[in-house]
Symmetry: C2
Subunit: 558 residues, 2 copies
């Protein structure tokens, strides 16, 4: 077979990365990263509202063109590569990142009138301005349509589709009214490449729809108009301008338009794979399969597993989503996550210790010299709330066991351990609900750089910890989708077999450490279940909320 | 009346301070400090055992002579002063700090044979090597003689007399056997000045005996031989070599010997007041009276109050001691305390933030800009255990409410607040048991230097916070005792009326802050009562102990 290549483009929080991948073995032959030009590292913020995080949609197009053309240029130096041999393009993005668009599928913010309006931008995944709306959606669903939130853990998040659109409706009705439709970034970029100019013609991915928009075929697609009207009649009206069917990545989203083929220097008409979320395609690129949990470890952690569509699958309480086809066709995609992992360590180092990357290295080295249990410390990893299994953003951190000799490195280790305990709670929850997990594959900078972190996880989880072979699993996963869309492989599984790998370095549980961590995990669960209101008896469970409410009252009174 | 003066000598943890005081108004006319020459800042430690803290008894004599002669030299520059006009000497010391002595009342450690033996030194108050012994004493007393521990809060401490002597018996029986008796530092220095050479002739203070050695007239003095024999028959045998009666400061401990009169340049035969603990004489110097709580705020905090002997006084659970005459003749002396106050802030600044005094100043300034409740943080002040009201050294710190934006200054403030909540728990416990508290007088460097600290305390306690007029209240209290012993005043109360004062600066509760702190205090008590096992229901109360036990197991296994 002649050499063939696919392109994966990963739209992250601060930049886009394009990777040209060899279809034979998944090897990257050309890579380029372009930062988004607007805001702070690509994110538009508001000093008056720490929950606001938006992006200018024009940045995506700038970064798309820049990263792809530069990655192709880099690939051209490799033997056997030619742009004509690129068979397809795959795209993954952050999410839920909905964008208001006009009737021609053009983001409102590209028009001069809306250029600077914050509500007309892309509402970045980490925008939490819709917290009130999320709570109201949860409440309404629990009362009137529990089936809408059952597959997504029972609680609707402020990070998701409807919370954001409803918030826009409330604070910027002029933007809401001007929008012909709303499109997830994961659907928008493929639509752009395919030259689609009608929102109704976009082939929306079930990944975004199922995990973030309460879409499920079992209940007839998106939430029904009656339910949406309970929130606001205008949301019910919007329903008709969204979509009726969402799709797994079993067919392409479209084919590369003439215009974009010229822009990028690629063959027109090659398939554009269905878009998907970074975590999901990251899992594909990391080799997710039945029994494997993929952890994408960064500032936060995203966990992805799959389970066969052929077997019955009950809802798993607290798991953010169980969506048929969301990760790979033919499988349930299961998503879970932890709200702060790298961020928790960064908080300790940057905010408290006022240090930098060198201090991370120093504390890691010191902490590596400590034995499990030796510090007498135990922490809850909730400085940014708990995504799974409690699905409660209004939880906060806890550290217990300090003496007058407790060192910053001991706390650093306790925070690593806390995230590992949180990870174990997720694995146990999955397993209790019939999802087998016997192997963990990690990706992300922390997994590759921090051996202490990985060893603690191996000891706490009691499983071997592997590291994905590619340092760019998200883009690789999107590229794999392109290879399947182009027909180079008959299935995702076949493509993964050739195109993904694991690093030789792995971390295995040490029995002694594991025993100590079993004890510590029991105590973690006591704190977790008490402060997370899982037992529900004493008044301790409401303590953090009352602290937060008090704080807010005080700030409001000032 | 011609001008007259008294000397107060304060033996602290690291140095001795002599102050020459004008009897008319308590004004210091000469002051000198001499550091103890041995060990680290006067404390002999053991890198292998963090609980060990000893002092070389010879250091006390070096510091006594040095500080007194230099204070007198300084006083001589003041008009009206002459050494011949010094009417008496008072002494206060740390405690319980027992010293093994020979039959001539000479500390064993002054003999060449024992010079370097750690068990032959003075066992400094903060030596915790006798933790096991303390627990066994508590257990034995609860079972067989609850009246022994009832007046000292129900729990015997590793910092106290019998725990240390029993520990010595176990680890260094040769020292125990060589000792003719054991003398508290507070009794030893007056005995030295009075030229006493027979341990049986020492007039022991009820302050040390009652608060630290389970002495009470109500049960016939020291614990009886049968009880001590339960611990070890050799302790029962030692009882006969200690003392049968302990005394309030209603008569002198002795009169200045010719030899020490020459050493110091003072008139021979002047009265040496009864020795006492620094906190107790500090309370006297701060003007303690009925309704006043004196807080001596340093690395830890000691709280002292008095109540009239004429009224019935029940035991107060958790209060370290209720001893007739221990602070002033005619009054019950009540002692309580917090194990870490300045130390808690020092831990945060030095251990965690790796800063120095300038960082204390910076964090104080930043924290002063925060409003009560604003940080969302709540801490337990137990990094060094809880002395009052839980009397449990095996408790540890807790911090809850952290987010990814929590700053080091917010934690600093939360730690100050935690100590204030701990202080409130003590005040409420006293008041619930019929001890009126309507005014708080503070002494110590933190009280004088840190306005934020004082304001937080005023807001949390809901009482005006005063600062003692003298910066050397402990030495002033000892000097007042000397003035009474010399007959210059008919009573402590009369002497206090003339010789003590308050600073004009005071801190009064701000109603809004107080309301917030009332809410926070309720939550503090929830954590306090749960983790301190006061509710006793869930397994959370044992969590810290299990963490500690696990830690010890791991360390032991290494």
């Amino acid at each position: 077979m002649p050499p063939a290549f696919v392109l994966g483009v990963d739209f992250g929080t601060n930049s886009a990365r394009a990777v040209v991948v060899d279809c034979a073995d998944g090897r990257a032959v050309g890579t380029a990263v372009v930062e988004y030009p607007s805001g702070e590292h690509g994110v538009i913020t508001d000093p008056k509202d720490p929950h606001l995080a938006r992006q200018h949609p024009g940045d995506y197009l700038v970064a798309l063109k820049g990263s792809v053309t530069r990655a192709l240029r880099a690939a051209k130096r490799k033997q056997g590569f030619a742009a004509a041999r690129v068979l397809g393009v795959g795209v993954d993005t952050t999410g839920s990142t909905p964008i208001p668009v006009d009737a021609s599928c053009r983001p409102l913010a590209l028009e001069k009138r809306w250029r600077k309006h914050p509500a007309a931008q892309a509402w970045l995944w980490k925008d939490h301005t819709g917290a009130e709306e999320a709570a109201a959606i949860t409440e309404a669903a629990r009362r009137h349509a529990p089936e809408y939130v059952a597959p997504i853990g029972g609680t609707y998040s402020s990070e998701w589709f409807w919370s954001k659109i409803w918030k826009c409706l409330k604070v910027a009705p002029e933007v809401f009214d001007a929008a012909a439709s709303w499109v997830e970034l994961a659907d928008y970029v493929p639509a752009v490449l395919a030259g689609i100019t009608d929102p109704a013609a976009i082939r929306r991915c079930v990944c975004a729809a199922g995990h973030k928009a309460m879409y499920a075929e079992a209940h007839g697609g998106l939430p029904d108009a009656a339910f949406l009207a309970r929130l606001d009649p205008r949301l019910a009206a919007l329903r008709g301008h969204l979509f009726t069917k969402a799709h797994a990545a079993d067919r392409p989203a479209g084919r590369l338009s003439e215009a974009w083929a010229q822009e990028l220097g690629l063959p027109a008409g090659i398939p554009i794979a269905m878009g998907g979320f970074d975590a999901h395609y990251g899992a594909v690129g990391a080799g997710v399969k039945s029994g494997t949990l993929v952890k994408i470890i960064g500032t936060s952690t995203c966990d992805v597993a799959i389970a066969p569509l052929s077997a019955p699958m009950a809802d798993v309480p607290g798991i953010c989503g169980i969506v048929p086809g969301s990760v790979m066709p033919g499988w349930y995609g299961l998503e879970a996550g932890q709200s702060a992992v790298g961020d928790l360590l960064n908080w300790w180092v940057a905010e408290v210790c006022e240090g930098d990357a060198r201090l991370h290295a120093r504390l890691t080295a010191e902490a590596a010299g400590q034995r499990p249990g030796e510090s007498g410390l135990l922490a809850l990893d909730w400085n940014n709330g708990n995504r799974t299994i409690l699905v409660d953003p209004r939880l906060t951190g806890l550290l217990v066991g300090q003496t007058l000799h407790t060192s910053r490195a001991e706390v650093y280790r306790a925070l690593i351990e806390a995230t590992a305990f949180g990870a174990r709670a997720i694995v146990e929850r999955l397993r209790e609900n019939g999802v087998p997990i016997d192997r963990v594959v990690c990706c992300g900078g922390i997994a590759e750089k921090n051996a202490l972190f990985m060893q603690v996880y191996a000891d706490v989880l009691g499983h071997p910890m592997h590291i994905a072979g590619s340092p760019q699993t998200t883009a690789l996963g999107a590229a794999i989708s392109a290879a399947v869309a182009a027909g180079r492989y008959p299935s995702f599984e076949a493509a993964q077999g050739k195109m993904t790998s694991l690093q030789a370095k792995r971390f295995t549980p040490r029995p002694e450490a594991r025993a100590v961590y079993d004890d510590l995990y029991k105590m973690y669960r006591e704190l977790h279940d008490t402060f997370g209101a899982m037992s529900g008896k004493p008044d301790l469970p409401t303590l953090m909320k009352r602290l937060l409410a008090l704080r807010e009252r005080v700030v409001a009174a000032a």
